[in-house]
Subunit: 445 residues, 2 copies
């Protein structure tokens, strides 16, 4: 059903693929704050997002989790707002708000009626500089993030395994640390840790304001200059620079055993290049490669491992190119009953090897490109997801031009590009292979 | 021959095992510099050592290798000494000098006639604060350390493997970085990196002076106050604090393939506790465990794998407890011809399992303890190695009392202590197992 729908859309999609058509306006305030306005006048609503170019990978060693901790603390009080009053005010005005922390950024957003935009800016600007943390907030919110870690990680063997895998994937780079933080370091987070991060990174010259919806660039500029304009830039803000990986010279392997594992699986992550400004072609090829290999019912792995040999009940390939530094390309195979993890991995490797020999199926590639064109169109229909794409892209080092060029770059990827990217990325020396399993019997005595 | 010699020594050894008998005097200068004097008047010679509590694990992320780079640069000029003049002066006075960098410390030493001690202090104090680096020194010495890396690491597959193993052993702690540095980071080391490290860590309140030989404590105090006394303490010196490891939840494995490997082997490193001030018992048990398992011809692994099954041509166990933070316990098996790495590893694991069941051979333990008593005596005979033990211990967080108590603590270890330490340390979740091998044939197609 999806396929016929997409086929029907084909003509329209071809005509309007590029995001350059988005009604996007950008400017920069005098204090260095970047502003992106995405117009969409179909409903009297705006999304107001503030993105800081600071995430977990920017944390001081030993303070893992502080970016996310601070994100929580930003919902506490300021000089003029009581703890919790921010979200209560948004709700009272009929809006919703939230925030998220990633490796490369921390972002705050509200969705609200267009005429409340000034109020959102006033409150967001306030907490950029006037945060006031009570002792009880420090302790309470630390317990909250620890409980969040319990729920999301400690109680989930797959999440624990992914942490260990990631720590083994990165030999030097801070992406090896979990966003939520190592528990023993989270337990030591305090006011000083939170405020150090806040004072270093929360400043207009380290922020990107995205406003999307029923608003004009002039209105946004006037309001932004009123509310954000008076905030002082941080003159000591250092250029973003992270440590990079040494050559990785040997695959790492690990077997994560946990009695809570109901469904064992094999996963492998390869270190992989990310989208870089003006240089997104390899990332585009890897994006298509992930779709070709594991992107759905017609993908190479699904066809071979689930339908033909029935070795697997699920298989997939993953790549996310939006990242400041080297990202990863992932594979996963969930074996069928009676199939061992070794058999599943061997089947996966055989299929990857076969793919490297036989190459890309041209029809499948065309179909995937059409899906990307369609999803580009759909994305334009959702102003919030569009705002998020711009924010994540900009906070990960890309320019508006890079973000707008991305759909065309995806469409221009050739079969040869994909095979070159596959040969480059499938280097086991750059990979961690992990088995997730209930405790296995010892093979040696 | 060694055994009968040790047996003959037995009586003497038992009577004089403790290092507390060393003629050791300690005091601290007003600027915070710790001083240790070890008297030995048998020859008119002194060893003058200056230890900084700063090593590669104290480096800023991204500047790996800077501790060692700075060590090289300290042989360049000061306001009053030309580049190279330091060592030339030592040599002209009939002495020898050198320096070394480790994870936890950097140390400089000279061995010279006792009446030249003041001159050594004068020059060493001078370069603690008056280093002057020419542009040509910066570039030249960076090439020197890069060439050192080429020779020691890049040209040695076993060294490359050990780097990858170590990076995988430590998920969070800077011991995962090589002392010499990652090449891509060494290439970026510059004057700023070197001077930042110098200014942060090279100060009397971060230094330990060890003088050993034909000198009295009063003489050392007078000279130290004259030469080191005027140097200002660094008031901003932070307490030594490193990040620690999260729980390690899965063994990591890697196979390092390199066509230059002539002799394949299997090695495994377990994360292991180090000697802590006032708490050295577990480290002592691990020290004896390493000797029992792999310390020589009569050790468990050598007997079983080399003599009985002849699976191996070499086997060993390694532990070094002198470390500021968690160290490692290592095992290695070099298989005989026709024995695969898997067979060697399986045999190793079986032997470890058997040891955990059968326990310690009391006679072997007695023999090892006697060897330790003997080596304590021998060590006292070598004033330079004694000075080095004090320096390494103090720079790794131990006290003089800890260092002097160590031989007695080793002697007090029981069979139960060793078995408890073995059960604790042999946790595969805390380990990396590595195979070093020439390129292997693919087992999957």
């Amino acid at each position: 059903m999806i396929r016929s729908f997409l086929t029907a859309l084909g003509g329209l999609v071809l005509a309007t693929a590029a995001w350059a058509d988005d009604e996007v306006t950008t400017f920069t305030l005098d204090n260095g704050m970047d502003v992106v306005v995405i117009e969409d006048h179909r409903a009297p609503v705006v999304v107001h997002m503030l993105w800081y170019r600071a995430g977990s990978a920017d944390e001081t060693p030993g303070r893992s989790g502080v970016a996310h901790y601070l994100e929580h603390l930003l919902f506490k009080g300021t000089d003029t707002l009581d703890p919790g009053e921010f979200s209560a005010t948004v709700a009272r005005n009929g809006g919703s708000d939230n925030a998220f922390t990633s490796f490369d950024y921390t972002a705050y957003f509200q969705r609200v009626a267009a005429d409340r935009l000034g109020l959102m800016m006033q409150m967001e600007a306030d907490r950029m500089v006037n945060l006031r943390l009570l002792d009880e907030d420090i302790a309470t919110e630390r317990n909250v993030i620890l409980e969040e870690r319990n729920q999301r990680v400690e109680n989930d063997p797959a999440a624990l395994m992914r942490e260990q895998l990631r720590a083994a994937l990165y030999l030097n780079h801070p992406y090896g640390r979990p966003i939520i933080g190592w528990r023993h370091e989270m337990e030591t987070l305090d006011r000083t840790a939170a405020l150090d991060f806040y004072e270093e990174f929360y400043a207009p010259n380290n922020a990107i304001l995205i406003v999307a919806g029923d608003v004009t660039p002039d209105e946004v500029r006037t309001l932004a200059e009123e509310h954000y304009g008076p905030l002082p830039a941080n003159p000591d803000l250092a250029p973003r620079a992270r440590v990079s990986e040494p050559p990785q010279l040997a695959e790492r392997r690990l077997t994560f055993e946990d009695p809570r594992v109901a469904q064992p699986y094999v996963t492998r992550s390869y270190l992989a290049p990310e989208r870089d400004p003006g240089d997104q072609e390899t990332a585009a090829a890897l994006t298509l490669l992930a779709e070709l290999l594991g992107g759905g019912q017609t993908s190479v792995l699904t066809q071979a491992l689930q339908f033909e040999s029935q070795v697997a009940v699920y298989s997939g390939a993953f790549y996310r190119g939006t990242s400041l530094d080297d990202t990863s390309f992932g594979l996963v195979v969930v074996p069928s009953a009676e199939i061992t993890l070794q058999e599943a991995e061997t089947a996966l490797d055989a299929e990857i090897a076969r793919f490297l020999e036989t190459g890309v199926d041209a029809e499948q590639l065309d179909r995937i490109k059409m899906q990307f064109r369609a999803s580009t169109i759909y994305a334009r229909d959702n102003v919030q997801s569009l705002a998020r794409r711009y924010g994540a892209g900009l906070a990960s080092g890309l320019t508006v031009e890079d973000i707008q060029a991305w759909p065309d770059i995806l469409q221009a990827v050739t079969e040869d590009d994909i095979m070159a990217a596959a040969r480059m990325v499938f280097d086991r020396n750059n990979a961690v292979t992990a088995w997730l399993t209930p405790p296995m019997l010892e093979v040696t005595q």
